[in-house]
């Protein structure tokens, strides 16, 4: 009997091609290690990765490696190893995957395991972490000190409150603090690498990144079309490029290629899912081990994820007047970093919601993307991607009469995600979405 083909979750050709970039980072880092050049293990640090890259460093991203391991089904061994090392199983799944991997390296004279997916992560000479987004992003790298004798650098990123952002002088003082931090970061890397940062090179990287992010933002705007030209899995495949490798010279032309493919679909009324019936938003991090789940939702229920994962998306473009006369790339980077985080503060203050990061964008996107519902992926191992979900759920219902559904799971640990149960929940949720369509119509909403 023929085995039933798993419905493809990726519909764009460029989404299929995007895997090249993740593999490229691993390959380049392994080559750097062979050539004796230092490699950094880096968090995705709100675009501050440009700084070490402008100094010629190769970066690998353990967060992305965790997602990769989950997607190819090799995370379980690393997770079990992390448990055996004494790390609680409620910790970040990416971190646990990394602890397991690091433990294997430590047991093998710090050699990259031969069976590691994608060739594995090269040995780190330095850890580049961040105070932004979540506690794990610096506590995790600190904890890796038991396996590697490598310094940890943490980039500060204050999590400003919605109303605090609008206090006189608050934004400027925070950007000044960020910029000062980044200059210290440059000094740290200069000492580590024994060479000076070339400011012109950094400017080139920043300029390229801004261009890439602008195109990525335009792609987001194209996705407002009905039917949607993209799926959530399309985005999750492509986001590696503009999120992790924003300033890479190959990423800008690739992002333009994505834009062209998506625009073609929009101009010709081509839907990503031919039978799109329901448009869902998705919060926040997907089950990397089970992305085919979304293919099944699309094929069998006509459910498409039309917008997802706030933290992975490009920021709102920085207003031109804010960059007028600013040529210092560090200053621009500090503004970009803070913009990424606080860009939707005016939406937050408009609706009186706190915080604006993670939450406020949805209050704009629900209308932009004409969403019928929100799918909340409650993650046992990720507090920041989970704590705002019910908060957002209440806001979407209170203001827009858009319902939400909760699915329990994990980003890396397949064992805590029940796909069949999740599918049944979505099936039942269809009725709820139908009901609230009527409610919104009566309340004067136009979707």
């Amino acid at each position: 009997m023929e085995k039933k083909k798993k419905p493809s979750a990726k519909t764009l050709q460029t989404a299929q091609e995007a895997a090249y970039f993740g593999k490229k980072t691993l390959k380049n880092a392994l080559r750097a290690q062979e050539e004796g050049r230092p490699v950094a293990w880096s968090m995705v640090n709100q675009y501050c990765e440009m700084i070490p890259r402008a100094m010629g460093m190769e970066l690998v991203f353990p967060e992305n490696f965790g997602a990769f391991c989950a997607a190819v089904g090799t995370a379980e061994d690393y997770l079990e190893r992390s448990d055996a090392e004494g790390f609680p199983p409620t910790l970040c799944g990416y971190a646990r995957n990394c602890f397991g991997y690091a433990s294997v390296m430590a047991a093998n004279d710090l050699r990259v395991p031969g069976d590691a997916p994608g060739g594995g992560m090269a040995k780190p000479a330095v850890f580049l972490s961040s105070g932004g987004v979540c506690d794990a992003r610096f506590k995790w790298f600190q904890a890796l000190g038991r396996y590697f004798d490598a310094p940890v650098w943490t980039i500060e990123l204050p999590h400003t409150g919605t109303k605090e952002f609008f206090l006189p002088g608050y934004k400027d003082k925070t950007i000044a603090f960020l910029a000062r931090n980044l200059r210290s970061y440059v000094s740290f890397l200069e000492d580590l690498l024994g060479k000076k940062m070339d400011e012109d090179t950094l400017s080139e990287h920043v300029d390229r990144a801004l261009k890439t992010l602008k195109v990525a933002y335009e792609i987001d705007r194209l996705r407002r079309a009905v039917p949607s030209p993209m799926t959530g899995p399309d985005f999750w495949a492509i986001m590696m490029t503009h999120y992790f490798m924003t300033d890479d010279p190959e990423v800008l032309p690739f992002t333009k290629k994505v834009y062209d493919e998506v625009k073609y679909r929009v101009d010709n009324g081509i839907a990503a899912i031919p039978n799109e019936k329901y448009r869902l938003m998705f919060q926040e991090i997907p089950p990397w081990h089970s992305l085919d789940f979304f293919g099944e939702l699309a094929e069998e229920l006509g459910v498409n994820i039309v917008m997802e994962s706030w933290s992975f998306h490009p920021p709102l473009p920085i207003p031109e007047e804010e960059l007028e006369g600013v040529s210092d790339p560090i200053e621009i980077l500090a503004r970009l970093c803070y913009r990424k985080w606080m860009g939707y503060s005016d939406v937050g203050i408009k609706y009186g919601y706190e915080p604006s990061f993670y939450m406020a964008a949805w209050l704009q996107w629900v209308e932009n993307y004409r969403a019928d519902g929100m799918m909340n992926h409650l993650l046992r191992s990720c507090r920041p991607a989970t704590y705002t979900t019910l908060h957002t759920k209440n806001a979407l219902m209170d203001v827009f009469k858009v319902p939400s559904i909760e699915i329990d799971g994990d980003i890396v640990d397949l064992r805590v995600f029940n796909k069949e149960e999740a599918f049944s929940k979505v099936e039942a949720f269809i009725e709820t979405m139908d009901h609230y369509r009527e409610v919104r119509k009566k309340d004067g909403f136009d979707w």
Partner: protein
Amino acid sequence: MEENFIRLFENRHQMAQEAHAQGKKIVGYIYTYVPQELIHAAGAWPMQLTEEVQAHGVSLPDHFPDYVCDYLETILDEGLRGTYDYLDGLIVPHGCESLRGFFGMWCMNVSTPFTYVFSPPNKINPAAQEYLFQEFQHQKTLLENFLSTQVTASDLEESIGIYNEIRSLIRDIYSLRSQDNPVVSGSEVFSLMRAGLVTPPEDFLLQLKAFMAQLSSRSNSPAGKTRIMVQALAFEECFSSVLNLVKMVEDLGGHIVADDLNQGLRWITAPLSLEGDPFASLARYYLEEVTGAYLQPAARRVENLLQAATRAQVDGVIVCTTKYCDPYSFELPYLEKAFQDKGFPVLLLETSLSMPSAQVKNRVEAFFEILKA
């Protein structure tokens, strides 16, 4: 006097409601990064929000997912039920992600007139100090506007003086707790520290002085023989009506001679300097002296713990970690190994309100068997 401290804690809401009714301004806070001296200098009573174990989960399912620590869940629950309606203000540091989310939920659902959130820096350096100084200046301005007052340097110096005196007396009590034949028990110390969180500092200072006078005339030691250090985030993890680890230890013949609680050792290690500009001193103190797992590397905190354990000549260490507390959980293997390498036996306890205390008691009993062997 222990009963007095227990009563102060148990009656905290009633006391606060009465004070509020009489016009006293009360500004709540959570965790040690909030500058209590500044709140006090502005004329308000700084009061730590504390966990209400009986209230667990009543109003929460629509606000907080399950995967968040009990501590914040129950405080939020109490806020939703109106228990903290006497608060005029709430200041919350971004000490961890759950706390950051808690602040948002509180603002959205509980009517506290003045709220403020800030991010203490991750690092200790001149940029961080300047940033925290600016943060505290923002808080000062906002408190002045809200409370219709001016906070002068001498106001702040006076408040710092009171808190320094509190810290000094607590350090003395901690010394008495850890000496041979200690004249004060772990239960008494935990009771008084917990009362200190919820009592106006002037009143707490009087209580401490009276307690010290009492201790100076004690000759009998109420303490057991096995010397234990407890590491926990908050008193509620180990000293509550649901889980009283302190009593378990004492019933087994043990004595808690050292701790690393949020408002214990971590808060009292050094006085706040009154040299120079007190506002600058305040920022320097909260950046350099207040250590916790949230923001700073484990090495510094663990080194302090090892020194405290060595000074107190502990026989064993009990480490309590609230389930879903990421900053502490990441440090567990490092912490355990650091203690074990120095020859201190360690018991790791992951605590939650749903955990039966009998289960904890079994593990503590087994730990004591190991220590006696």
